[in-house]
Amino acid sequence: MCQDCGCSAGSGRKIIEVQKNVLASNTSRARANREILEEHGILGMNLMSSPGSGKTLLLEKTIARLRDRLSVGVIEGDLETDRDAERIRSTGVPVHQIVTGQTCHLDAFMLQGALHHFPLEALDLLFVENVGNLVCPATYELGTHRNVVLLSTTEGDDKPAKYPIAFKHADVMLITKMDQLPHTDFDTDRAMRDARVIRPSLEVIQLSARSGDGLSEWLDYIERAVQQLRG
């Protein structure tokens, strides 16, 4: 704009080619988080699912079975309340709660803040229980090494087809509440087929945290992943 009278002389339109991912800053923070975890030899696992699919119970049972072999920490993401964190805290492992308020997902910056609350040099494995939501968390990388998606038999086998993005980013799908299978019309083959259309390399483990069936396969998966990280 002209300095004297405010007319448009001397000004112009400029086009800037940016070509940059909108979430680039989250992605680079996630990369930095991963480096922090790897410096300390910690495997990070990001658990994602709908509300009520059994993430917290699975974590309780997993910690009980693993704690003699691995030192575990847990980050709990919740919209409100620290009830899940309290449940995990009662197992005796270090827990940090992130209350997201209105935010429907965790992001890499929230994870960075949470890492300060852990004795990183003492940990082998860090679970992140993401906000119960099968849509938004999938868009935000955290810097963890494995994305774990839980799908419970009581939710229905159509979730992979309905929420493809969560499954697209998953490394392993846990079909949970297998003890409830007889009471549902959940078709495990269909759920696996639909999920592998979206993510061909997806590993699938069927389990029931309540009965313990399938848990050892899940624990093997975790221990293999820890070994891989350590080379």
Partner: protein, 119 residues
Amino acid sequence: MHEFSIVQSLMDAIEAHAAREEAESVSRVVLRVGPLAGVVPHLLKTAFDTFKARSVAEAAELVIETSPLELTCRDCRQISTTDTVRFKCPQCSSLNVEAREGDALVLERLEMEVTDGPT
């Protein structure tokens, strides 16, 4: 519904570029979005209209270009593109397809009004 968070990141990028160019205003924002990006275009627009108020992009128009999902059929080898989240070969209807791309969420371009400075 994480479109508000995404637009918050978008506004940060817009403000940074506008400041670097010493722009008076931003008039057009072009975003490229794929079907696997996990965002709903009209919700992005609503969020953008909320966030842009009293910013350098107050009068800006948000243009959303779609970026397709590329499917390679493992049965008939046909390569196709789609703007929907449908993992099905249009040639042979096979579900045995490999999906690539489609998750773009890219700030492509900004158009801004700049002052050339005193001559």
